[in-house]
Every structure is written in structure tokens, then in C-alpha cells.
């Protein structure tokens, strides 16, 4: 260990390069040579890349600064190169480095990404075995791991944004992995576009941080965050004032006091917009359920365990900014609570197993945002940690079920439909037990991972109070109301009850009761060919037709077992109520500054154990209710509910028709805009621009074609005519002179030079010209002018054929006559001149030197 520490000092921790570059290498090799490598080669490359990355991450984790070092913010830093510099508002240079820094928070995250990533790679190597795009799949998956590692290891926001966009792109590629079907391709597009909206918020936040703090480094943001306590006027904007507006508009638009908010609130809300996009929160959650169009391992890795938690990670990372604005914190927490409840309600009635899990993920992400929103950053992150295990396990379990269902149903939607499943516990024992453990964990069964993390979040929501920074600015901060915490707590309890219910509904519908998939065997010809498969014969399994669902092979069950083990025991890494919290101690220094303005409400003191009771009851009621409805009475109550409230059921089943609402409003507006642009395109671009320019070019062609006869002699005739013209020009004399007046202002000296030519001789005439009387070879004439002087010079040119041409050149020097009689700076006597004898003439009063032609 000591040898390693000297090899990798904390300030230049190049081991991070290995963590990063192995997945990048895997992506490159599989992407470029994958087809030639064959499936075994691709599998070896992908697994060893992510596995090596995991080992390096583990080493990094073990080498984290501990104790004293960690208290002082010790981190493992590696700077690759200077990326670019920008200048801030004080004209200072702000360097943006490609630099990575690891502390307890992102070291844990690295372990999750590479560890869970490795298990999912292993699983996929079997799950995707029959797919033609095997190498493409693993190239994307490795590229995703690389981007995700860049995202979590980056030590500044700009680099984080690179990873942020990278994972977004990989998500797009993998959602639309089977792009042959329009549905999948458009799901990928939807995810990408919705995320763009969030990314806009993140970009705005970055610009504001650069403006107010002059840095994008997380350490710098944390240190200088208090500069964000500057009040910002958000309304009225620009030059809106009673003077510039009509009076009725001023009365409506202009408030008595300008609306002021803190810059920290704006930054917090902008960052949260980005996080809401990436982490599927209201109002941008709509892409995540559709993202289930991708292969199931992708749903497990990207859309459950890692990428979607990036938003939670970012809020936790920027905790120092968020605590400066109770309003932004409240927005995060309320949005989280609303999303948790809303998504859980949709999950109650879905038939598609993966859709249930998708809404469950959205709901759990809501819980995480409740955590970070009430200032329990460590707890929120802990839920990210435990959720990664049990949700990945659930998705992989669902994948295993789908894999098994595929022997009977070769249709993506049908094979995921829980109405076709049931009784699978007999055929898939490993999948069943791991799925059950994860279900218990997510539902909050006591002592399991999900219990500790969820309970912790709810308790913190109940008890925490955000005390805004005081006395830092004239603007009074928004106060955190005392009712908000308990309100979020009870919404959370309600969501947790629903979670337990729909998870156990999914479990019982899938693994218990009778197998309902016998009736469908597409494309399979059994021994009794011609038998009608439509006939329902679910009475007993002796009458089964075709292949039997079977347990998945070892590479798929091992990840399930490992993840289920973590779903069982990971809770003890941070079990606050019983004071077993190694992870909590690790995260303490990270959130040290952020947690200073979080206080426990006085009225909540000592209620921790009591408030665990509703959480426990939520599990009992939810799971027990599901058992009663789906295990005991075979869904009779659900059918009764559908019968008595058909419209409410339809509304919830249609996901509250939010997609339709967006289609009607935002998408409709964008479509209308696109229609306008399309008209502009057909009429202006195609109609006028394209046709007009084509007409001009065509007309020019028609004219020029007349000259292009194709007859050599026509060309040579025009050449002869041209040459004759040139000859005539040469034979004629030309009296052309150029005047060099660069010294005119200072000394009055002017040089006139005549243009040369064949056999030319020159003759100069004019007042004060001392030159030969006859034509001579003197091409240049030097003259001196006094201020105010104006002289005319006549130039005569004779050529070899005795032709003569004449030109008159007028020379003038600006200024008052006699003002500067002596050119050598000697002031004439009696003249009042500035010192030095120089006459200073304003530039605009100097007329141009006049040149005339005869």
C-alpha cells in the first residue's frame, strides 16, 4: 500500500486514467474491430475492460485519504491537461482543466458504476447472445461506462457536462438499439430531446457560476459559494419602466417593488432543471418510461442504477450552492415528493413488467430528490447507492423472466406483459428469490437496504429545517415553512405504501398463481401440429404445449445473486438509527460545509424511532394489500375497482395522459412552428432563392453559349482582335503620373513620377520647374510647396513613334498662405505661432490633394 501511495501521490493520482481509459479502450476496440473479433472476443474485451476499471476503482477507494486528511478536504486529484481558458467578468483568466478529483462521494459512485456495470456486462454477454449487434451493444455499453465515469470523477462542471452529454448520447444509442422498429427509434429521440431541455438549464447555471464565482471547479464553488448571495432583479427586465410602457401595460406588468431573488436561487433552479431532465423528475420524467424500449440490461444499468441518478449526484455535489437558497431546496424537495407520488400512482395499474419498474424508478428518484432537497445529502446519496443494487436486480430479474418468456412468445410487448405470466416461481427459482429479495428491499422491509435508505430520507424530511444564510444581504431569504417537512414526509409515506403495493403486485402476478402463457406459442410447431393454440387450457400444466420456460444460464444468475446480496445487506453501510454507518463517516467531510445550515426541528427531537413506524406500516399495508388482492383473490378487487371507476382507471392507466397533454400543448406548438418554417422553406428558400438563382445562372449561360461556338477559328479570331487592341495600346503614348505626397504635410515636398513605357521620353513644364526644355529621360519631378500654394504642372510624353500625350497635374498644399514660409521649422518673425513653429491644422480641415485631368 505504501509503495502504491508513493507511485500514485494524491495530487497526481494517475490511477484514475486507468479507471477511465479501460472502458474507452473497450469501446474503441469493440466499436472498430468488434465484427472481426467475433462474439467471444467482444465479450472478453468488454468484460475485461470494465472489470479492470472496477479493480482500479477499488484500489482508488482503498487509497482515499482518511481521518485527518479527509477532514481537511483531502482528495485524489489528477489533472490531464488544460482544456481552455475563458475570461471572467473581472477580465481574469478562468482556466478549465481536464481534471479529475475523487473523494468519498464519487469514489463510492465509481464503485457502483464499475461494479454494477461489470455485473450487467456479464449478464448482457448472455442475454444478448443471439443478437447481431453484439459488438455494437458492448461498444455502446463500454462507452457509457466511460462517459459516466467522466461525469462522476470530473472536478469541474464543464468536464462533468462532457460526461453528462456522453451518457445522454449513449442512452439515446442504446434506447434505440433495435432501431429497426420505429417505436424504439422515436423513444430514443424523445429521451434525447427531453434531456436537451434540461441541459439548457445546466448551461445557464454554468454561465451564472462563471459570472458570479469565476470558477467551475467544485472546490472553488464550495469555497466561494457565498458570493452567490447577490440579489438579482428578475422583473422588470431590460428597460421596462413606466416611461417606456403605455400606462395600462405598466399597471399590469410593473409591480410596485422590483422582484428580486438571490443568484443562488437562480443557479439552484437552473441546475435542478438539468437534474430534472437527466433524473426524470416532473415535468421532464416522460422520457424514462419510453426508454424501456431498449434492451433490458440497458434499462438496468443506465435507466435505473447509474445515469438517472446523475442528477441526484449533481445536486449533492453542489450542496454548498443549494443550501444558500431555501427556495431552491424546497423546489427540489417538493418536486421530488410530487414525482414520487405521481409515478407510484401510475405504477399501480401497468401491465408491462418493465413499465412498472420504470415508474418505480421515477418514483424512487423522487425519493432521492426529497433527500437532497431537505438537506440530507448523504441520505439522498445513500438511496442512490442502495437503489442501484435492488433496482438493477429487479430489472435483470425482469430480463431473466422475459428471456424465459421468449421460448413461448416472440414478441417484445407480449413477452413483457404480466397478464401472460404467473406461476414462474416453479421454473425460475433463482430469479424468483432474487426478485423477491429486491422487492422486499424496495418496499422497505425492515433491515433490508431499501428500508434503511428510504426511512432515513423520510425521517430527515420530517425533521430537517433549512435555515437560510442570515445577515449576508439586504434581501430577506425565503423562510422554510415548518409544515413543509411533515407534508413531504406524509406524501413520502403514501408513495412508499404504493411502492410496496405495486412491487408486490408485479411479484405475485409474475411468479405466483398459474402460468398464463401456455396459450401463446408463436411460430412453434409441436408434435401435435395443427392444434389450436388459441384454446385456453390453463387448467393444469400437464396439458402444456411447446417448450417450458426455464431458468437463465449462470452468467445471468450470478449477477442476480450478487445484486440481491447487496440489496439484503448494503443497508448496514449507513444504518443511522442503530449507529452503524461506515459510509456515513466516509461522506461526512464531503458535505461538511453544506450541512452547516441544516437544523433539526426542535419539535421533532427524539421522534426518530416513532416516525419509523409509519414507514414500517407502509410496507405492511402495501405488501399485505398486494398479497390479499393478487395472491388470495386473484385480482378480483382490481377488476371491481376498474368496474366502479372505469374513467379514473383509464386515466391512471394512460399515465394521467401527460404525454397527450404535452402533445397538445408544447409538441403542438413546436409542430406549428415547424409548419411555418416548412412553408418558408418551400416558398422562400425553394421558391424564390433556388429558382431565382437558377434562372440567373441559366440566363447567363444562354448569353455566354453564343460565344462558345466550338469553332477553333472563331476563338482565334477573338484572340487576334484582343491582341490588336493590346498592340494599339502599346503603340499609343500615355501621360499618366502618380503623386507621392507622403511628406507634403511636414516639408511641402512632392514627388511626381510619370509611368514608364516603350521608348518614352518626358517633358515637364510649369511655374518654378527647372527641367530640360526638350524631351528627356527624367521620369520624376520633385517640387516644394508652401502652405496654401497651388501649382499646375504639365507633363508631356513622347513615344518611339513620335506620338505625344499631355496631362496637367494640379498640386496644392493646405494651410494659410505664408503661415509656414520656412519649411525647416524656422518661425517667420512677427508671426504668432505655437512653440516649435509647427502649425497644427485639424485633420478635418486638410482638403484632399487635388488631382486633375486635362
Amino acid at each position: 500500500m505504501e509503495a502504491l501511495k508513493s507511485q500514485f501521490p494524491a495530487t497526481s493520482f494517475s490511477l484514475l486514467a486507468i479507471v477511465l481509459l479501460l472502458p474507452a479502450l473497450g469501446a474503441f476496440v469493440n466499436g472498430v474491430f468488434g465484427k472481426r473479433l467475433g462474439k467471444e472476443g467482444v465479450r472478453l474485451m468488454a468484460l475485461s475492460a470494465i472489470g479492470g476499471s472496477f479493480l482500479a476503482s477499488l484500489l482508488t477507494f482503498l487509497m482515499l485519504p482518511r481521518g485527518e486528511d479527509a477532514e481537511q478536504g483531502g482528495r485524489l486529484v489528477w489533472t490531464a491537461w488544460r482544456w481552455f481558458s475563458i475570461s471572467g467578468r473581472m477580465q481574469q483568466s478562468i482556466p478549465i482543466d481536464v481534471s479529475f478529483a475523487v473523494d468519498g462521494l464519487n469514489a463510492t459512485m465509481m464503485l457502483v458504476v464499475t461494479g454494477v456495470g461489470f455485473l450487467i456486462h456479464l449478464y448482457s454477454s448472455e442475454y444478448m447472445k443471439k443478437d447481431d449487434g453484439y459488438h455494437r451493444f458492448f461498444a455502446y455499453l463500454n462507452l457509457f461506462c466511460f462517459s459516466m465515469l467522466v461525469l462522476i470523477m470530473a472536478d469541474n462542471l464543464a468536464l462533468l457536462f462532457v460526461g453528462w452529454e456522453g451518457v445522454g448520447m449513449c442512452s439515446y444509442l442504446l434506447i434505440g438499439f433495435w432501431f429497426g422498429e420505429t417505436k424504439n427509434a422515436s423513444a430514443g429521440r424523445k429521451a434525447f430531446i427531453v434531456n436537451r431541455i434540461g441541459d439548457f438549464g445546466l448551461l445557464v447555471a454554468m454561465s451564472m457560476l462563471i459570472y458570479y464565482l469565476g470558477t467551475l471547479r467544485f472546490s472553488g464553488i464550495e469555497a466561494g459559494a457565498t458570493s452567490l448571495m447577490a440579489p438579482v432583479k428578475i422583473w422588470p427586465i431590460g428597460n421596462l419602466s413606466p416611461e417606456t410602457l403605455p400606462s395600462w401595460a405598466a399597471a399590469v406588468l410593473l409591480p410596485k417593488q422590483p422582484v428580486m431573488v438571490y443568484a443562488s436561487t437562480l443557479v439552484g433552479l437552473a441546475v435542478f432543471l438539468g437534474c430534472a431532465g437527466k433524473s426524470a423528475q416532473i415535468p421532464l420524467y416522460i422520457w424514462l418510461p419510453d426508454a424501456m424500449a431498449g434492451p433490458t440490461p440497458v434499462s438496468a444499468l443506465i435507466h435505473a442504477a447509474t445515469m438517472v441518478t446523475a442528477g441526484v449526484y449533481l445536486v449533492a455535489r453542489l450542496g454548498a450552492v443549494f443550501i444558500l437558497s431555501p427556495a431552491a431546496m424546497a423546489t427540489v424537495a417538493i418536486t421530488g415528493a410530487a414525482t414520487a407520488l405521481f409515478a407510484a400512482s401510475i405504477g399501480l395499474f401497468q401491465h408491462d413488467l418493465k413499465k412498472v419498474l420504470a415508474y418505480s424508478t421515477v418514483s424512487q428518484l423522487g425519493f432521492m430528490f426529497i433527500g437532497v432537497g431537505v438537506g440530507a445529502f448523504a441520505s439522498g446519496f445513500f438511496h442512490v447507492f442502495t437503489h442501484a443494487f435492488f433496482k438493477a436486480c429487479l430489472f435483470l430479474g425482469a430480463g431473466s423472466v422475459i428471456h424465459a418468456m421468449h421460448v413461448r412468445i416472440h414478441d417484445t410487448d407480449q413477452s413483457q406483459d404480466m397478464r401472460k405470466m404467473g406461476g414462474l416461481a416453479k421454473y425460475l427459482p433463482v430469479t424468483r428469490w432474487t426478485f423477491l429479495i429486491s422487492c422486499l428491499s424496495i418496499a422497505g422491509a425492515p433491515l433490508l437496504a431499501g428500508f434503511w435508505s428510504k426511512d432515513e430520507i423520510l425521517w430527515k424530511a420530517f425533521s430537517n429545517e433549512i435555515v437560510g444564510p442570515k445577515g449576508m444581504s439586504s434581501l430577506p431569504p425565503w423562510a422554510w415553512p415548518t409544515w413543509l417537512g411533515p407534508a413531504i414526509y406524509w406524501v413520502g409515506i403514501l408513495s412508499a405504501t404504493m411502492t410496496a403495493f405495486y412491487m408486490f403486485r408485479a411479484y405475485f402476478l409474475t411468479f405466483h398463481g398459474e402460468f398464463r402463457g401456455w396459450t401463446i406459442v408463436r411460430g412453434w410447431k409441436g408434435p401435435h401440429a395443427g392444434h389450436h393454440h388459441d384454446e385456453p387450457h390453463a387448467e393444469d400444466d400437464k396439458a402444456l404445449e411447446g417448450p417450458v420456460p426455464h431458468e437463465s444460464p449462470l452468467p445471468m444468475t450470478i449477477p442476480l445473486i450478487v445484486l440481491a446480496a447487496f440489496a439484503l445487506f448494503a443497508g448496514f453501510l449507513k444504518a443511522d438509527p442503530i449507529h452503524i454507518e461506515p459510509l456515513g463517516h466516509l461522506l461526512e467531510p464531503v458535505f461538511k460545509t453544506a450541512e452547516t445550515s441544516i437544523h433539526e426541528r426542535a419539535s421533532a427531537k427524539g421522534m426518530e424511532w416513532i416516525m419509523m413506524l409509519p414507514g414500517f406500516l407502509a410496507f405492511v399495508v402495501g405488501a399485505g394489500g398486494a398479497a390479499f388482492v393478487y395472491l388470495k383473490s386473484d385480482g378480483a378487487q382490481e377488476k371491481a375497482f376498474i368496474k366502479s371507476f372505469p374513467r379514473l382507471y383509464k386515466l391512471i392507466f394512460d399515465k394521467w395522459r401527460i404525454d397527450e397533454l404535452y402533445d397538445a400543448t408544447i409538441v403542438g406548438m413546436v409542430d406549428a412552428l415547424a409548419d411555418i418554417f416548412e412553408m418558408a422553406d418551400t416558398w422562400i428558400v425553394d421558391g424564390i432563392l433556388a429558382k431565382l438563382s437558377a434562372a440567373i445562372v441559366g440566363a447567363a449561360g444562354t448569353v455566354l453559349r453564343a460565344f462558345q461556338t466550338g469553332k477553333v477559328q472563331a476563338y482565334s479570331a477573338s484572340m487576334v482582335i484582343g491582341l490588336a487592341g493590346v498592340g494599339w495600346f502599346i503603340v499609343r503614348p500615355h501621360a499618366i503620373a502618380s503623386v507621392d505626397d507622403s511628406h507634403l504635410k511636414q516639408t511641402g515636398q512632392v514627388v511626381v513620377s510619370a509611368a514608364p513605357g516603350f521608348g518614352y521620353s518626358y517633358k515637364w513644364e510649369g511655374p518654378g520647374v527647372i527641367a530640360a526644355k526638350d524631351f528627356s529621360e527624367t521620369r520624376e519631378l520633385k517640387m516644394e510647396l508652401q502652405p496654401g500654394d497651388k501649382k499646375e504642372v504639365v507633363l508631356q510624353v513622347k513615344n518611339a513613334f513620335n506620338g505625344v500625350d499631355t496631362q496637367t497635374i494640379t498640386l496644392a498644399r493646405p494651410g494659410k498662405r505664408g503661415a509656414n514660409a520656412a519649411p525647416n521649422n524656422a518661425p517667420p518673425a512677427g508671426d504668432l505661432l505655437p512653440e516649435g513653429g509647427k502649425v497644427v491644422i485639424p485633420a478635418d480641415k486638410i482638403p484632399e490633394l487635388i488631382r486633375g485631368h486635362q
Binding site: 462558345q708 461556338t709 466550338g710 469553332k711 477553333v712 477559328q713 482565334s716 479570331a717 487576334v720
Partner: protein
């Protein structure tokens, strides 16, 4: 010994050049055109050697003339080859018929 003045050579050369250029512009037989080009080249040659006769200190004019003769020979060879190829295609040596690119 009285030598012939420069002007005489120049007049003869100008006359030759004029004949050549007028022939090139007005005649339609490709062989005649080639001969007209030879005439013009030789008019230039005559000018060059005539000047060299007056300015005897260098031989630039004469040397240049040799180059012109060499180039003219090459040009005549290539030109005749083109005329031959053209005749095979169009069964004609009229320059008016050389309009394959236009139509």
C-alpha cells in the same frame, strides 16, 4: 559592303505573319491551318534572326529560333496526328466539322 536594312526584314516578316494569320482565320482545311501556323512561326523566326543580325553581341535570337523550330516540328507532328485521327472519325479535314463537343 552594304547590308540590307533591318526594316526590310521586318516588313517581310510582318507580311509573312499577316499571310499566316489571315490564312489561319479564313481557311477551313486543317492541313492549310497547320501550314499557316508554320508561316507565323517562321515570321517570328525571321524577326528574331534579323534583330540578332543587328545586335551581334549575344546569340539569344538565333538560339531562340532553334527552339522555335524544334517546337514547330513537334507541333507539326502532333497536329498531323490529330488531323489524321480526326479524319478517321469524321471522314473530313474541315475545321467546321470539328464540333463533337458542341453537339
Amino acid at each position: 559592303m552594304t547590308s540590307i536594312p533591318l526594316e526590310y526584314f521586318l516588313i517581310v516578316a510582318a507580311a509573312l505573319f499577316l499571310i499566316g494569320s489571315v490564312g489561319f482565320l479564313l481557311r477551313r482545311n486543317l492541313l492549310v491551318l497547320l501550314m499557316s501556323i508554320e508561316l507565323m512561326l517562321n515570321a517570328v523566326n525571321l524577326t528574331l534572326v534579323a534583330y540578332n543580325r543587328v545586335y551581334t553581341e549575344s546569340h539569344t535570337g538565333q538560339i531562340f529560333t532553334f527552339f522555335v523550330i524544334a517546337v514547330a516540328a513537334a507541333e507539326a507532328a502532333v497536329g498531323l496526328a490529330i488531323v489524321l485521327a480526326f479524319f478517321r472519325v469524321r471522314k473530313s479535314v474541315r475545321s467546321d466539322d470539328a464540333d463533337l463537343l458542341r453537339n
